[in-house]
Symmetry: C2
Subunit: 197 residues, 2 copies
């Protein structure tokens, strides 16, 4: 295989996708080329359509092919309840779980000294103006239970703290449903004990 | 996310790639959309170029952007030595290992009753006509050490058996370099003992 040929070029482009290493990129490229009509052309079309049609929602920062996004546009969603998430995949996880009928604010990541992500790299100023334009009843911080996630939560709390009428809550910590004690880390067990009720 | 929108369409197309499940397809789609210039447009271009330029080599069945492929065209490769492999990824593995200076024949898979792959689905008739047009000195069967791989090897041997002047060899079985006995399966240990020397 020529190192600068179209095949190795495709493999290189595939291998930088999250979740695909060099080996699976080679297998994926081979599958795509041998199944042009079934897989390659539909993938090219899907990528092209997504590139053309997907926009960032100016209200919440999510991605959708309508602007504002479907959730912000949905009259049945409770606009007084804003759930702050780090990424769109977190938003999707909450939507898959069902049950939440409010709206979202997608920060686009969490603060990370290691990756050089500071408050300016996150969708925080939009949150600030959104909150002051139309103060919600409650803001739920659904940020990762990691050090970076929690320091991000603190920054969001600082922004929200300026408006005393807003109730700020966080997701509960504890045992996952179906979890077994023997497989849980000490931090989760301790938190579950402290928050028992 | 709308179930028939461009985003879920892209995720579905990505998730049927080998090595990508639903979760990694979601992450990959999100990464592509947020990094359009760095990742999505180059990927579309690479796919389009591969779809346009990559052809199946009429001699050996490999894929390349030249026809016949670079290996078949290379005057420094020994045309009297044909290595039969199941897939192009196996060919690449041998090329990465270096050392083999002959040419290849890619069958495009192995016989599999489970997947409904019979002798007619493999690149066998081309091998037969290739062998009778220009008989090589030696054919090396580099097929997987699985039941399906070995039954494929038998079918290839039957085809080659018609020409008695061709020497047919197989890759040796034994301990992998760096392998530890305690981690090897019984079959490999027994084979390594029988083939000791």
């Amino acid at each position: 295989m020529k190192q600068d040929g179209p095949l190795s070029h495709l493999i290189r482009q595939l291998s930088i996708l999250p979740g695909l290493g060099p080996r699976s990129a080679r297998r994926a490229a081979l599958t795509l080329i041998t199944k042009k009509d079934d897989m390659m052309f539909p993938l090219i079309k899907a990528l092209q359509e997504a590139a053309d049609q997907i926009k960032t929602c100016p209200v919440c920062g999510a991605l959708d092919d309508t602007s504002p996004c479907r959730i912000c546009n949905d009259p049945s969603r409770d606009k007084g309840l804003i759930c702050v998430v780090a990424t769109l995949t977190d938003l999707w996880a909450i939507e898959r779980a069902g049950g939440f009928r409010g709206i979202y604010h997608v920060l686009g990541g969490v603060l990370s000294a290691l990756d050089g992500i500071g408050p300016d790299n996150l969708n925080l100023s939009d949150l600030q103006s959104r909150i002051s334009d139309a103060p919600p009843r409650e803001v739920i911080l659904a940020l990762p239970a990691t050090v970076d996630g929690q320091s991000t939560a603190h920054v969001v709390m600082d922004i929200l703290g300026e408006n005393a009428s807003i109730k700020v809550t966080r997701l509960a910590h504890g045992m996952p449903i179906g979890g077994e004690l023997d497989y849980l880390d000490d931090g989760t067990i301790l938190t579950a004990f402290q928050a028992r009720g």
